[in-house]
């Protein structure tokens, strides 16, 4: 992999260059404490030392509500007019987010390809940035604290510069377009990168044990832990909305006032919502809150492993950070493993 060095004093100028590759989006402040990915015009608007945004990057590719088709009584369903071929550059993407996208790639790809998702994916360049974990991050446990693919460029802070890994030919173009801002990697850079790597590793506070977890999940299928968590859960679905890998949606037809035309849309859904597994006739396969909470964990840590060969949690800590009932995934899993007495 091509690796170069970007001195920090050149970052602002490089960001300026990036704008010629597409509309620039980056983590930026929304209110006192909240951060979101949104359009930015220069470095001053970008939060470089952030931990997590409210919504993950999925919002760009798999929209909270999305028009799938236009329909009319005479012609049936037709694809909406394509969005103009606009390009985007998303700057400041953490490793767990990139893993989140790689998981969504698995889900939306396969035998049936979700064309909405991949059409947007191909228009967006990803500039990664590494980060220092807070007390909620456990991406080290989920193996998502590092990425070697899934980005065009990836920046790691090594003190007074960034070490920049070039992931794609587009990333290479970005570096070449601003060639004079970069320099070669020196021995001190390599040493600094490795020092930071140790420091980052040591700063993780939260941990879960994923190894053999699918087996434990099967074993503890009837565990009282699910009831306990079900008691607390409000079925608000926030954990699904903020999760980088939750992808459930529902579909509905919206008729215009003329009664003849309209749009088929899809909207983010959550398996925590009461009517999620309801079928016509009124039977609900998961009427109990405990069974819905269990399903969420079971799917991520057990079901996904058998379907796609890896768990679908990237350890970003959002579900705990935003859960109004304070449900903590790390604690739930430790309880299941009986590593915490209850």
């Amino acid at each position: 992999m091509r690796i170069v060095i970007l001195p920090k004093e050149n970052l602002a100028e490089f960001i300026g260059h990036l704008r010629s590759f597409g509309e620039l989006h980056a983590p930026t402040k929304r209110g006192e404490k909240s951060l979101v990915f949104a359009p930015v015009s220069d470095l001053s608007e970008i939060e470089l030392n952030y931990t997590r945004t409210i919504l993950p990057l999925k919002k760009y590719f798999f929209k909270a509500t999305d028009v799938m088709f236009n329909f009319c009584a005479e012609k049936g369903y037709e694809l909406p007019v394509e969005e103009a071929d606009k390009k985007y550059v998303i700057f400041g993407v953490h490793p767990c987010e990139i893993h989140g996208l790689k998981i969504l790639d698995l889900v939306f790809g396969g035998k049936y390809v979700d064309t909405y998702y991949f059409a947007r994916r191909s228009k967006v360049a990803i500039i990664g940035l590494d980060c220092i974990p807070d007390d909620l991050c456990f991406c080290r446990s989920t193996g998502t604290d590092f990425v070697d693919t899934g980005f065009d460029l990836f920046l790691s802070d090594i003190g007074d510069s960034y070490l920049v890994r070039v992931g794609t030919s587009l990333g290479d173009d970005m570096v070449r377009a601003a060639d004079s801002l970069f320099r070669q990697v020196k021995k001190e850079d390599r040493e600094a990168y490795k020092r930071n790597s140790v420091q980052r590793r040591d700063s993780f506070q939260a941990e879960i044990q994923l190894q053999d977890l699918p087996g434990i999940m099967d074993l503890e299928y009837e565990s009282h832990v699910w009831e306990e968590v079900g008691e607390k859960c409000l079925s608000c679905g926030i954990c699904s909305m903020v999760c980088p890998t939750c992808y459930c949606y529902s579909v509905f037809d919206e008729l215009s006032l003329d009664g003849n035309t309209g749009q088929r849309k899809r909207i983010w859904d959550s398996c925590l919502f009461k009517d999620y597994a309801l079928v016509a006739g009124g039977h609900n396969f998961r009427a109990q809150r405990s069974s819905r909470v269990k399903n969420r964990y079971f799917h991520k840590q057990r079901g996904f492993v058998s379907q796609y060969g890896r768990p679908s949690c990237v350890g970003c800590g959002r579900c705990k950070a935003y859960c109004p009932a304070g449900i903590d995934i790390v604690e739930v899993i430790s309880k299941l493993r009986s590593e915490i007495r209850v």
Partner: protein
């Protein structure tokens, strides 16, 4: 991410293809058989499927829902869906008249494992609307009669007026190449000529060899449990008992998450599962 740029634009898997209702055949109260044909003649002729697969049917302006294909791929051209009126989409569907435009995509799901079934006896046990997917398998087997051993159908309805495909099935009773056992729970009219009693009573009228038979059961949960009991009593292998599952389905192609049971998608890995699968998947029955 640029590595997802690809030259070929894949087909949108959610796009319903225009199709027309050719004929609507009322069956029993609130149940109709819809004959449907794709608008594009080439598609109408080439569309093929396995018994047990389903399509997503769109009623324009109302929405989309999954329905088992009730016709057999041995009779290409039109597809037939046997639909129970139960809600939003099906209400709107029942208001449509012949020649109305609808949207259809599919076929989806695994369908019955035909290759495995061939060369064996088939025992089809249906209750109520469970006849819809089994009818496809029944006609598939009858149209490929030499590929199967004995074919037995057991079908139960509440009363004679509640039996789907009644005349079609009554006509099979006299056929020598299929054992068609029809029963009703009660017959107030007194003119019903076939059996009376719940479907499990039919087991007394058929000889079933568990060593070379596949059983396919479709129907209400309660019936399923009783039939299962009968089969297990006869030491029927658990992986030769097939069933079709119904779940909430929003996409039909493994994306929306709704149809998940345990760790399988009903729409991709199912809707046909074996009883062995069921034992091993939490939440299945």
């Amino acid at each position: 991410m640029s590595n997802h740029c690809s030259g070929v634009r894949p087909e949108n898997p959610y796009l319903p293809h225009p199709a027309r209702i050719i004929r609507t055949l009322p069956q029993i109260p609130d149940h109709q058989l819809f004959q449907i044909r794709f608008e594009k003649e080439q598609m109408a002729e080439s569309f093929t499927y396995r018994p047990g697969q389903f399509v997503m049917l769109s009623v324009i302006g109302t929405g989309e829902a999954p329905f088992s294909i009730s016709s057999s791929p041995t009779r290409p051209g039109n597809i037939e869906l046997c639909v129970r009126r139960i809600g939003h989409v099906t209400d709107a569907l029942f208001r449509l008249r012949p020649n109305a435009l609808v949207g259809v995509r599919g076929p989806y799901g695994n369908g019955f494992p035909i290759e495995k079934l061939e060369g064996n006896n088939l025992l089809l046990v249906a209750g109520g609307l469970g006849m819809a997917p089994l009818r496809s398998l029944l006609w598939y087997a009858l149209d490929n009669r030499s590929k199967f051993n004995n074919v037995t159908l057991m079908y139960g309805a509440k009363n004679p007026d509640d039996m789907l495909f009644k005349y079609e099935l009554l006509n099979l009773i006299d056929r020598a190449d299929v054992k068609c056992l029809l029963t009703v729970d009660t017959d107030e009219s007194g003119i019903w000529k076939a059996h009376v009693g719940v479907v499990t009573t039919l087991f007394g009228h058929a000889e079933i060899d568990p060593s070379n038979t596949y059983a396919a059961i479709c129907g209400p949960e309660i019936m399923f449990k009783f039939v299962l009991n009968e089969l297990l009593k006869r030491n029927f292998p658990k992986d030769r008992i097939l069933m079709s599952l119904e779940r909430n389905m929003q996409c039909g192609v493994g994306k929306c998450g709704h149809c998940m049971v345990g760790y399988k998608y009903t729409c991709l890995d199912g809707p046909i599962f074996t009883y062995w699968d069921a034992i091993n998947l939490p939440e299945m029955i």
